[in-house]
Amino acid sequence: MRDAPAISYEQLLNWLRFIDEGLIEQRGFLTELDAAIGDGDHGTNLARGAGAASSKVDAEQPEYLDELFKLVGMTLVSSVGGASGPLYGTFFLRLATGVGHRQELTPEQLADGLEAGLGGVVERGKPEPGDKTMYDAMAPAVRAFRAGISSGDVASASRSAADAAAEGRNATADMVARKGRASYLGDRSVGHIDPGAASVALMFEALAAALA
């Protein structure tokens, strides 16, 4: 697809807003998933981080997208803690570098950014496919987005990314955790969805809504 319409600053701001709203809504759900195989704070952690990031963004109103994502990443790193703070924080910091100093993005640039973000998560957490982590939802979603933009518009690409994330999330239920707290449970982790994979699915659902 040549000449695809640009993805605007506002759409990406909406993405962040939808993530924030989604977390307020799904906070309890995420925490319950984490209570079952972790320590029961995932929803609380991310809601706290998203709230802090929104306030920061409202206050500083960064002009460029790299500044925006960097601010989000920094705020997540400094307000979330736990495993998800560094992981999501690094995701947004790398997304910032990946999209470059711009006010709007081509679909390719966003795909580059998402891949850079995924790379940051891999570097930080060393997750392998099937370890039952956020990676198992994030990797297929990023792949689906890249594939989607080569065959359709961003709306359909982000839709298929969200679907891939949801599928990846659901697939974590059958996995034995090897990373994160759920790994302490061994086989008993089977049958439960990974909370981080569920929050990734939420994030890509928000992206699909913002780019719809």
Binding site: G28, T31, E32, A35, A36, I37, G38, D39, G40, D41, T44, N45, R48, V77, S78, S79, V80, G81, G82, A83, S84, G85, P86, L87, R124, G125, E128, R178, K179, G180, R181, S183, Y184, L185, G186, R188
Partner: protein, 329 residues
Amino acid sequence: MKKLINGAEDVLAESLVGLAAAHPELRVDHANRIVYRAEPKPHGTVAILSGGGSGHEPLHAGYVGFGMLDAAVCGEIFTSPTPDQIALATKTVDTGAGVLHLVKNYTGDVMNFDMATELAGGIAVATVIIADDVAVEDSTYTAGRRGTGVTVLLEKIVGAAAEQGRDLAELAALARRVAGSGRSMGMALTSATLPASGKPNFDLGDAEIEVGVGIHGEPGRRRVPLGSAREIAAMLVEPILADYTFGGEPAVVMLNGMGATPLIELYVMFGEVSALLEKAGVRVARSLVGNYITSLDMAGCSVTVLRADDELLGLWDAPVSTPALRWGV
């Protein structure tokens, strides 16, 4: 949920207000949730820093003081602190001789302490990871073992060595040796309830226990019928002895309460545990019985056994003056 709190979001901040009021010998940075000694260490002495999620009190803030930690960095409940908190504390306690980070082995703690070390550039930081929980299989492909009870003993021993003026490399080596010579195993009668969630993390039947729990209110390795103190002691001691050779060396033994278990029960358990250890040829040279590393309102206990020697016992016996451990001064 029945807790002595105001808002669920305010528990950590308000507990630090109480800590500051009760302990003028500590200095609390409320904005950054860091607890320091009011009287810092002499210049040129290595500082010892630890931290992690809250909800394990007295760990870590209760171990700040002479002969133990220089600062404790407090994360939200069951959530590791953030890199900037840790970096700020590191900069503040450094007297020029470097800072030793004592980190319990949880993905979040390890990552946040790692990022903090990057942020604290310029300061010599050594990091020792504590991973003593035999309930978890040891493996390089997983998150590995959890850091639990050995943390308390390690902070005491390495804190005493730091007061002697040992350098950062020596202290890190000592800390690794202690971390390698101790093992823990825990169990729960009830789950912890996080203030923010309001519900127990897991439900246990009236006649069930979780064996192999950690300190984050997470379920354990297996659920078994409630047994007698004697049976439970065996479930905790056997995997510890199977995992490590304690030989005829003197041991420091901790019988730790998870937060909601009364002391009379902990003493019953200690009687069983020390009998099992002595039978296995482990000589209990020093002991701690009480709530030292807890999991909010979880009922249950854990056993920690540390193989010691004359040097470690000497450091154990050295003066310490913190809210939760105090002797000799």
